[in-house]
């Protein structure tokens, strides 16, 4: 066989099962993000509050003078609240370009010409964001619980606050799902990741400002549903068995979150297509 005939050859090796392409996408996306130096800095910043909490737990467990630092169930709620800002920054940094960059480079038709459904494409992109957001919310919160157990030398705290395990899981899930679906939906609306970042920030700050303005005028916080972040805070308070900070019925808060997630998925379904049809 001439050498030139070997330039293109049949492939007789193994092929992975259909329906696994999203994992390839997620792996590639994760590797691409962690290879960035900026991201390392962001992660250090994101884990700094965790270190502070570890010190707090250590002091409370080992020094009687610092017993006022003893963690309570609320401590974990406060920690996840603090991570809200980091969650916002991470969502913008990682999520803004996830679909927008593919749209800019017409990559959607390439992805969807492979054995991959639109749902898999969205799942693959969402998994990237999900993993990183979980690494700054769910993972450190759970680790704090473990650290508390280790420093205290007993399971008493965990046993007395058993609700914390599902509460951390559920609230982190709500935070991550809301952030990742809304960000991906916005990312699918534009070809510019910068514009998407600005849109997301605008949505976040504008709705919060609007709610606070109305609250200032009316002296009531029933309009918390106008702000996704305030609504999420209400949901978080309920999950952590605390008194809701705003006068928003928990059922309404839950419905608002579900509608936002559902609406984002609807936008994704409309926008993630192999061909853009303009009629």
């Amino acid at each position: 066989m001439p050498i030139h005939d070997q330039g293109y050859r049949r492939y007789g090796g193994t092929r992975s099962a259909i329906g696994t392409a999203w994992r390839v996408m997620t792996r590639a996306g994760v590797m691409s993000i962690i290879s960035k130096r900026q991201f390392i800095g962001l992660m250090l910043f994101a884990w700094a509050p965790f270190v502070v909490r570890v010190v707090q737990i250590y002091l409370a467990a080992n020094f009687s003078q610092a017993s006022f630092l003893q963690p309570k169930g609320e401590t974990f709620r406060e920690y996840l609240d603090q991570q809200g800002l980091i969650l916002f920054v991470m969502t913008v940094y990682i999520g803004a370009g996830l679909i927008a960059n593919d749209r800019r480079a017409n990559a959607l038709q390439l992805y969807l010409s492979k054995p991959m459904t639109r749902a898999e494409y969205i799942a693959g992109k969402m998994a990237i964001l999900f993993l990183f957001l979980a690494s700054v919310t769910f993972a450190p919160a759970m680790l704090l619980l473990l650290v508390q157990t280790v420093f205290a030398g007993s399971f008493t705290f965990v046993r007395n606050n058993l609700y914390l395990l599902p509460a951390i899981t559920l609230f982190s899930l709500a935070q991550i799902l809301l952030a990742s679906t809304t960000m991906l939906a916005l990312s699918s609306l534009s070809k510019s990741s910068r514009f998407v970042g600005v849109m997301y920030a605008g949505l976040y700050f504008f709705t919060t400002a609007l709610f606070q303005a109305i609250r200032g005028i009316t002296h009531q916080s029933t309009f918390a549903w106008l702000s996704p972040s305030a609504t999420l805070e209400v949901v978080g308070d309920i999950i952590f068995r605390l008194h809701p900070r705003y006068e928003l019925p928990p059922a309404i808060a839950a419905i608002v979150i579900i509608v936002l997630i559902g609406g984002s998925l609807f936008i994704l379904d409309r926008r993630v297509r192999g061909v853009e049809i303009v009629t």
């Binding site: 005939d5 017409n106 390439l110 009629t279």
Partner: protein, 346 residues
């Protein structure tokens, strides 16, 4: 490489590195004939296919059969070629009709079909932030290849398409011609049974275009890859394909083997006359001949079903109409004649 050299494989491929010459367990042994991608029966079958974009009917009741080998999907811009490919890929849901690709129903088995397909889109497409080898390897993985095999094949196909030396460059720095080649590389990295090539020579300079056509010809005729080449450029289709499906205004004007379409139904003559040319054209058309004016005053006259000497018929008509025949010679029918005839018949 010019069209006349079609029997010679692309000599640039000789430059590939020694490493790609070694057979892998997944590859045929050196000296073995390349395995065929040929499939039994038509590779694509469309029955009464209609696709609507809003109020516009992009495909209307299209029924066509695409035979194994290289099939050209020919038609002017807006004929529905790209829409047909996108419907076959499952990007567009048809309003009616049935499509099968490689014997599988597009409506029920789109993923199984796409696992065996390679698609080279018309528009510039890449995955941002990657160099060529990681992009092609990534596409291989998305198509189901294990990472190591995908990377090895990425190197091989990049050499095959002539991007071996530029494979570590970021895709955003590629020229238009290189982007066309990289799109071909990502389409063949997973060794598809069927390739969809949508206007593969768009934006390429003449040399690059010839090289791209040589690659397509080589894939179809020496490597045994079935392909459907969508183009509005008749020479591209005529050079690379054995069969053609001619589309116009969302319908199939004609389809079949190119040689059969060119030669069986009549003869073509080049004719130049002096006299009332427009009246004479009317007479020819009235006699049932297809007449097409070219740029240099020479008309091409197609005489259908003519077993007899068509030149005598033309001389007789010219004498009767009192026009002088200044130039008359039998011509070789081209795909352009097939196209003009098919679209004209529409």
């Amino acid at each position: 490489m010019g069209f006349a050299e079609r029997s010679n494989p692309d000599t640039r491929i000789l430059k590939q590195p020694l490493m790609t010459q070694f057979a892998t367990p997944a590859s045929p042994a050196p000296g073995a004939a390349p395995q065929s991608h040929r499939v039994d029966g038509p590779v694509v079958q469309c029955d009464n296919l209609s696709v609507r974009y809003g109020k516009n009917l992009a495909l209307r009741d299209v029924s066509a059969t695409f035979q194994p080998g290289a099939v050209g999907l020919l038609g002017p811009n807006g004929a529905g070629k790209s829409t047909l490919l996108k419907a076959l890929l499952g990007f567009v849901i048809p309003d009616q009709g049935k499509m099968t690709v490689l014997g599988l129903d597009v409506a029920t088995s789109p993923l199984e079909i796409r696992a065996r397909l390679g698609y080279m889109p018309e528009s510039d497409s890449h995955i941002p932030g990657m160099n060529a080898v990681s992009f092609v390897g990534y596409c291989g993985q998305l198509s189901g290849l294990p990472p190591a095999d995908a990377m090895q094949r990425a190197h091989e196909v990049l050499y095959y398409v002539g991007l071996g030396e530029a494979r570590y460059r970021n895709l955003e720095t590629y020229s238009t011609g290189m982007k066309q080649r990289i799109k071909l590389a990502q389409a063949i990295v997973h060794d598809p049974d069927l390739l969809f090539l949508d206007e593969p020579t768009n934006g390429m300079d003449p040399k690059g275009r010839d090289e791209m056509l040589a690659l397509i010809y080589d894939l179809a005729h020496n490597k045994g890859v079935n392909l459907i080449l969508s183009s509005h450029l008749l020479p591209d289709v005529e050079f690379t394909c054995d069969h053609v499906v001619v589309m116009d205004k969302g319908t199939v004007a004609t389809f079949g083997p190119i040689e059969a379409l060119k030669g069986t139904h009549g003869r073509v003559y080049e004719l130049r006359v002096k006299g009332d040319e427009s009246r004479f054209i009317g007479v020819l058309q009235g006699a049932g001949f297809d007449v097409k004016n070219t740029d240099d005053d020479v008309m091409r006259v197609f005489i259908p079903g003519s077993d007899a000497d068509g030149s005598q018929v033309l001389f007789d008509l010219a004498a009767r109409e009192r026009v002088q025949v200044r130039h008359l010679r039998p011509s070789v029918p081209t795909l352009e004649d097939v196209f003009a005839r098919a679209v004209g018949e529409q």
